[in-house]
């Protein structure tokens, strides 16, 4: 099977996923939930409730609502957001890029710390640095990210006053949220790199290379690193998807960062259905595309993999 055909197949799968998830959320929100109760104050009269239900189009048969939704969603039109009173797409484009950037920064920090640390730890097992790596990854994996955020904020913003506590504006506002988000992927990645590197350094090819006098740095750069790439990339891709799919919400709330996670939280709490559908659509598409990129990168690092 050629690469092109494989990509087409994956794109078809993406469409299937987006369709299934969108319909699921659509039906779920309309069968179980009633947004009118949340949008109107408790004192609203029955007439007011009926009027709003009609205005939002919630009185029509469900299949008709779903049909209309799918038709307009196909042209990327999700309707106006009920709370922000402008096209949902516009709202998404105000919030998504900044979060995507924030999480990208976090991932960059994670990679820059985890790779060198993991490799050195694999060479010097049991050393002080190895123990530091273990502690760091355990903190990253076990501690709730929003708690790490609150602690960092307490020390670096409140006590020391080095960085702003919350909001957005300068690059300084990115540092604390990005470092906070980076802890979890850093922990995951450091463990994977250390484990895989330890395996690689004991492989026959590594022993052979050393025996014929290949320098350690070349062995690392030309052989071992390439071999640990597939699992590392999977991990990075997974973590990125999870963070963008709402995991970063708590950290964004802590820092008052107006990002996508924050938007997801607000949208769901205010039952803003059109905006929610747009968010579901975009997260599903992004997750599928990132998985596709990860698969393509596999082939780039491992010549045995052919699609």
């Amino acid at each position: 099977m050629g690469m092109g055909k494989y990509i087409l197949q994956r794109l078809a799968f993406t469409i299937l996923v987006v369709l299934v998830i969108s319909i699921l959320v659509f039906v779920l929100t309309r069968v179980v939930g009633n947004p009118v109760d949340i949008l109107l104050p408790l004192t609203a009269t029955t007439e007011q409730r009926e009027l709003l239900t009609k205005q939002l189009g919630l009185d029509r048969p469900m299949i008709q609502q779903l049909g209309d939704f799918l038709k307009s969603a196909a042209t990327l039109d999700f309707g106006d957001s009920w709370t922000q009173r402008r096209p949902s797409m516009e709202v998404i484009f105000d919030y998504l890029p900044i979060s995507a950037l924030l999480i990208l920064c976090a991932m960059a920090i994670a990679v820059l710390v985890a790779f060198p640390l993991g490799i050195i730890a694999a060479y010097k097992r049991g050393s002080l640095l190895d123990r530091f790596l273990t502690v760091l990854s355990l903190v990253g994996i076990c501690m709730p990210p929003f708690w790490i955020g609150l602690m960092l904020m307490f020390f670096f913003a409140v006590k020391l006053g080095w960085l702003p506590t919350s909001g957005i504006g300068t690059w300084k506002h990115f540092i604390l949220p990005a470092v906070t988000i980076s802890f979890r992927p850093m922990g995951n990645l450091a463990q994977i790199v250390r484990y895989e590197m330890t395996q690689q350094l004991g492989e026959m090819y590594a022993i052979t290379a050393r025996a014929k006098g290949v320098r350690e740095i070349n062995l690392l750069r030309k052989h071992a690193l390439k071999n640990i790439m597939t699992s590392s990339i999977t991990m990075i891709g997974n973590d990125y998807c999870k963070q963008l799919g709402g995991l970063s919400a708590a950290v964004e709330v802590v820092y008052g960062f107006p990002g996508f996670g924050h938007l997801i939280k607000e949208t769901i709490q205010s039952m803003d259905y059109p905006l929610l559908q747009a968010e579901v659509f975009f997260t599903a598409v992004i997750v599928c595309l990132i998985n596709l990129i990860v698969d393509i990168l596999y082939a780039a690092f491992d010549p045995r993999i052919r699609y």
């Binding site: 993406t14 996923v17 076990c142 709730p144 708690w147 602690m151 708590a250």
Partner: protein
């Protein structure tokens, strides 16, 4: 004679297992810490005289170690914004956190294992449909869907459990399937069929016990994962609601007082972290110990 040997062998195996466990200091400490923590949480009334929701507004935001008023014991970890004893709240709140983490994993394990075993064992169409479902579900923004489910059903512990269970079955399903595939092609199952053992019996009596250890590892680590997830959602207001309490909710309510009373934030986070850490260490130990492919130290 043969029987005698097997008994001897199992006894020997158990001894070495216990020895190895004792030698693995991290797992041993984790186990002790977890048992102490669980005892304190489930026998909370023995360890604290305070109630979860008894507030004392004149003692609000008192730092750790403040003597209690009216002959009450000290506030070991201080009090919160309503003057409630933080230590008592951590113990009682832990019940909800652990309950959610555990129940969600149990539900996920049951659904996942049943589907995974069926997929792996029957193969063909059953396998195809179940695995496509898992694929689609793995690409779905499950956290977003879980939040939506909580919101439309109304926040609270029960609905939080339902919502998180949505996300907890896929991992178990994948594992159970791959293990079942290995077992299906094993001589043990083939001979079972040959002598006329029924399919459900083969699955429950022969296949299931053999795939137990990886599933137990996954179970322990996933419980830790969902204790964290509960904290995350309750922190955001999608989980346990007052007057009930949980670790995540204490953090969510206390975060506004970070500057005046950092202890309200520091201790719940540490308790979550320690619980999750212990479960992870125990999970790792089970994996290393029972996985035949893992390198033995």
């Amino acid at each position: 004679m043969a029987k005698k040997n097997t008994i001897k062998n199992t006894a020997k195996k158990k001894v070495t297992l216990w020895k190895r466990f004792r030698n693995n200091k991290a797992a041993l400490i984790a186990c002790i810490v977890l048992i102490v923590l669980l005892t304190m949480i489930f026998a909370a009334s023995v360890f604290t005289s305070y109630n979860v929701n008894t507030s004392d507004l004149r003692a609000r935001l008192s730092p750790p170690g403040t003597p209690g008023r009216a002959g009450n014991s000290n506030h070991i970890l201080g009090t919160d914004q309503l003057g409630r004893d933080l230590f008592a709240r951590l113990l009682y709140g832990g019940r909800a956190s652990l309950r959610v983490g555990f129940t969600v994993t149990v539900i996920g394990a049951i659904i996942g294992i049943v589907l995974g075993l069926s997929a792996g064992y029957f193969g063909g169409w059953t396998d195809m449909i179940i695995m496509r479902l898992v694929d689609i579900w793995s690409s779905a923004p499950t956290l977003l869907i879980a939040m939506t489910v909580v919101m439309i059903m109304g926040p609270g512990e029960g609905n939080l459990i339902i919502a998180l269970s949505i996300a907890s079955w896929t991992l178990f399903c994948r594992m159970a399937r791959s293990q079942a595939l290995v077992m299906r092609n094993s001589p043990m199952v083939e001979s079972g069929h040959a002598i006329g053992v029924s399919t459900p019996q083969i699955m429950s009596k022969h296949v299931a016990p053999n795939i137990l250890s990886p599933l137990v590892t996954t179970f322990v680590i996933e419980t830790a994962h969902f204790i964290n997830a509960e904290a995350n959602l309750s922190f955001l207001g999608f989980g346990v609601q007052p007057p009930d309490t949980s670790w995540g909710l204490i953090l969510g309510e206390g975060r506004k007082y970070l500057v005046q009373a950092p202890w309200i934030v520091i201790y719940p986070g540490l308790v979550i972290g320690i619980t999750v850490l212990c479960l992870n260490l125990i999970g790792d130990w089970i994996r290393d110990e029972f996985d035949p492919l893992a390198v033995k130290h």
